[in-house]
């Protein structure tokens, strides 16, 4: 059992080892959905939500597989759990808040293939986090993802009018910004050490 304090886990997964900027997880939405601030913020919060739910489910699954003594089935069952979590969340959101459902739109079903979510569940199990620790980790990871996404969206909206050199237009620019952000986030490393 891992004894790490909760705040350290949270700070670790949100700032020091930001999922996008240090682990490169969830890059697809990071590159694709960071064009507009509003969508970026929504996407980030939706991912955070699913991450936390998936963390709880993943914890239960780990417990179940330990009883069955079948760790080799973990990946396939994890992905199945995430896919169904996403589906359940989608149905719940549609039932209880049609407005939010419309706002999130296509992002909800797409989350099945978001590597940040699968990655966060995998990390939790490889580090042996308990239930509360898993939730702290997932919450931190999701909020860190949201932070990176929102910062990137703000910068890209601002640069939308700049007349950039030809070679850098498109994904390259986003990557350069991500690199600089990643360097800036290195300032947080060792936090709490």
């Amino acid at each position: 059992m891992n004894q790490e304090p909760l705040w350290a886990i949270f700070v670790g997964s949100s700032l020091i080892n930001n999922f996008v900027l240090a682990y490169f997880l969830g890059l697809c939405p990071f590159l694709g959905v960071s064009g507009r601030l509003v969508t970026a913020a929504r996407m980030g919060l939706a991912v955070t939500f699913v991450m936390v739910v998936a963390a709880v489910c993943g914890y239960g699954l780990r417990w179940l597989l330990a009883i069955l003594d079948a760790p080799y089935l973990s990946l396939i069952s994890l992905i199945a759990v995430i896919a169904s979590t996403v589906q359940v969340v989608e149905m719940a959101v549609r039932k209880f808040s049609p407005a939010l459902f419309r706002a999130l739109g296509i992002f909800l079903p797409l989350m099945t293939t978001n590597c940040a979510i699968l990655g966060s569940v995998l990390f939790q199990s490889s580090r042996g986090y308990g239930l509360v620790q898993s939730i702290a980790f997932a919450g931190g990871a999701g909020l860190g993802f949201t932070l990176a996404l929102v910062l990137m969206a703000g910068l890209r909206e601002r640069l939308g009018l700049a007349r950039l050199p030809d070679v850098v237009r498109g994904t390259a620019l986003t990557l350069v910004i991500a690199g600089i952000l990643s360097m800036a986030f290195m300032g947080f490393s060792g936090l709490g050490g």
Binding site: E4, G12, I16, N17, C28, L31, G32, V33, G35, R36, L37, V38, T39, M43, A66, D69, P71, Y72, L73, I76, Q87, E90, F101, G105, I106, F107, P109, L110, R127, L151, A153, G154, L155, R156, E157, R158, L159, G160, L161, A162, R163, L164, P165, V168, R169, G170, T171, L173, V176, I180, M183, A184, F185, M186, G187, F188, S189, G190, L191, G193
Partner: protein, 655 residues
């Protein structure tokens, strides 16, 4: 192709974004402002040359030349810099369709350019340690201008402070050289640091190999160890160690005052930064004085004055509204204090300002009275889809899904139909639900079967490789041992070899390894320890000798520490020499260590329970010392109480 269009047209399409950049003051041209900023920086720069000697001069000059040459050499970008400053006062920046003949254009053709590269170069040079090899300084300068400014379309649209981009790059690229601080030399003005003239792309001489007195930590870097602050007057005048141009608070403040009086600098940002840092550190100093120094020291030490006055106020990369600038300043102040007090770096001004720069678009957006609610709903589905999205739904379909009361399963999957596959849509209605489930279930069963078969096949090989791997690691940390046996702990506190233990779950790894020599004598036990390092978790294995009551050796199993810095815990001879006879004696009650393991600065080890740290990798070495201490405190009492369990197995081994 929605994605690519989204990029090409910019996120806003052709909409006009109301903003103020380039932040050009009324009437004044870019080059005029730059000239004054340059002049305001010169006194502090001049002081640096007097104080640190020729090395500082070499650093500043190289930085300047690198930045200016890069600016000249790069093709003119059609960037925001070509906007006529006199036309941008209305705060609607409309890039002209064709580059027009403006005053800025004429200026840029002059030999000094628009002057911004000179200011960038000087500021950048002033943030570097004075003894930095010149080739590194030059590379950072090129990065400053090329990546920090040119790539983003030139002056006026660069989101990050170019000088800091260059410095951050160097800090990440050459962490060791960037944290080697030289003392002002005895020779004073004529001194030259040996590292300055390192051959291009070569390694500078190691700090440990230099004569005593040439390197010294900055006051900030020393504080966590000695809790000492230099005299306030020294901080004020700048007669302390540190980066080339950051030491003299008074000269920097005077420069800032001059600019503020000429209205070329907004006083709000620096005042907000200073105020936040002072208030926070005053409060924290009363609360945890061993972590947080007093406010005067926090304000005067490190690069805070230089950063707050000359970098956070950069017109291009700071918010446009007065409110926004105060928010910006407060945020930078908070991050500086957090990094300095709790972070792994002694200094956080650079990171704080870069992070602040990143939030400027957000601050601008929320501090402007622009209507936030003007976004149109439902028009941007195409842009919102991630690249490589397999599944794309059209807006109409999404709406119908949201509204329609169809069965949930088919709803679910109708949102997942890709546009590319619409041609197949007629047949979808025909499949009964039962068949769907049957196929999924069937595929799932076949897949699971495949995995089980693979596992059955590979499990013995993997188990063998794993145990070989561990065996090697264990013998490594127990010099003299030839056989290693894994043990698990029983519920009653005794230890049994894991092969004897009945029903060990396959994932629970052996907790302790015992090493035996040829005669079956117990050499020692190997234990795993885990803890938070500088970057991520570190796992290590260490060997403990119950006879010597000492730690024999240590081996890192897993770490993501910074290459060349944190990962020196695996290679640094001084650090590795700690092990061998690291004292972990237990007291009479056999329940705790007589002397807890203590980390001291490199070369200061005088007692057997002390460990030499690594200069520049303090956090990592301290983390390892703490992990060893914690693990020893937990395990050693149990091990020494049950030593017979291990020796018995050794006797059986011979037989």
């Amino acid at each position: 192709m929605e994605r690519q269009q989204g990029f090409r047209m910019g996120p806003m399409g052709r909409t006009l974004l109301i903003r103020g950049a380039p932040h050009v003051h009324s009437g004044a041209s870019v080059s005029r402002i730059m000239l004054h900023v340059f002049l305001a920086l010169l006194p502090a720069g001049g002081f640096a040359v007097v104080w640190f000697g020729w090395s500082a001069f070499a650093t500043l000059a190289t930085a300047l030349v690198a930045c200016v040459i890069t600016e000249r050499w790069l093709p003119r970008s059609p960037g925001g810099g070509s906007v006529d400053p006199s036309g941008s006062r209305g705060e609607v920046a409309i890039p002209p369709a064709e580059p027009t003949q403006t005053r800025v254009d004429r200026e840029r053709r002059a030999w000094w350019g628009d002057g911004s590269a000179w200011v960038t170069g000087l500021i950048y040079g002033m943030t570097l340690p004075p003894g930095l090899p010149m080739w590194m300084t030059a590379i950072g300068g090129v990065v400053s201008v090329a990546v920090g400014k040119w790539l983003f379309g030139g002056l006026g649209s660069n989101p990050f402070n170019p000088a800091l981009v260059g410095r951050a790059f160097l800090q990440a690229a050459f962490p060791a050289a960037m944290t080697t601080w030289m003392l002002p030399l005895e020779g004073g003005f004529s001194g030259l640091h040996p590292a300055t003239l390192t051959l291009p792309f070569g390694q500078p001489p190691l700090a440990t190999a230099m004569p005593d007195g040439i390197t010294a930590a900055t006051p900030l870097a020393r504080y966590p160890f000695e809790t000492l602050t230099p005299a306030t007057t020294d901080l004020f005048w700048g007669t302390v160690g540190g980066s080339t141009g950051e030491t003299s608070a008074i000269l920097l403040l005077l420069g800032g005052l001059y600019l503020a009086c000429r209205r070329m600098l907004d006083w709000r940002t620096p005042v907000a930064i200073f105020g936040t840092v002072a208030a926070l550190s005053w409060w924290l100093h009363r609360w945890v004085p061993e972590r947080c120094p007093d406010p005067v020291f926090m304000l005067g030490a490190g690069g805070l004055v230089l950063g707050a006055v000359f970098m956070a106020t950069d017109m291009v990369t700071s918010p446009i509204t007065h409110h926004g600038r105060i928010v910006f300043g407060v945020m930078i102040g908070v991050i500086v204090v957090v990094i300095r007090v709790w972070g792994g770096m002694p200094e956080g001004v650079m990171y704080a300002i870069l992070l602040g720069n990143a939030t400027v678009p957000l601050i601008d957006r929320f501090s402007q009275p622009v209507v936030y609610g003007t976004r149109r709903r439902g028009v941007s589905w195409g842009q919102s889809v991630k690249p490589g999205a397999v599944v794309v739904a059209s807006p109409e379909r999404m709406q119908s899904v949201a509204a329609g009361p169809r069965s949930s399963v088919s709803d679910e999957f109708s949102t997942r139909r890709s546009l590319a596959n619409d041609d197949a849509s007629e047949e979808t209605a025909g499949h009964p639900v039962a068949r769907m489930y049957a196929v999924v279930l069937g595929v799932g069963l076949v897949c699971s079967l495949g995995i089980v078969v693979t596992d059955y096949w590979t499990a013995p090989v993997i188990a063998r490789k794993r145990s070989e791997f561990r065996q090697r690691a264990v013998l490594d940390v127990l010099p003299g041992a030839t056989v290693a046996v894994p043990f698990v702990r029983r519920a009653d506190g005794g230890f049994v070899p894991s092969s004897d233990a009945e029903s060990v779950p396959r994932e629970s790894l052996p907790q302790v390894f015992a090493g035996y020599d040829d005669q079956g004598r117990l050499v020692g036990m190997a234990l795993e320890a885990e803890g938070q390092g500088y970057q991520d978790r570190i796992r290590l294995l260490f060997g403990y000798s119950p006879d010597a009551e000492a730690i024999l050796a240590m081996r890192i199993l897993e770490s993501r520490e910074t290459p060349g810095l944190g990962d020196r815990v695996e290679t640094d001879p001084v650090f590795l020499a700690n092990f061998g006879d690291l004292d972990v004696r237990l007291d009479e009650s056999r329940s705790k260590l007589v002397h807890p393991i203590r980390l001291v600065s490199a070369g200061q080890r005088s007692e057997r329970w002390e460990m030499d740290g690594i200069t520049g990798a303090t956090i990592t070495s301290r983390a390892i010392a703490e992990m060893l201490g914690a693990s020893a405190a937990v395990w050693l009492p149990a091990l020494s109480a049950r030593r017979d369990d291990f020796e018995r197995v050794g006797q059986e081994l011979i037989r």
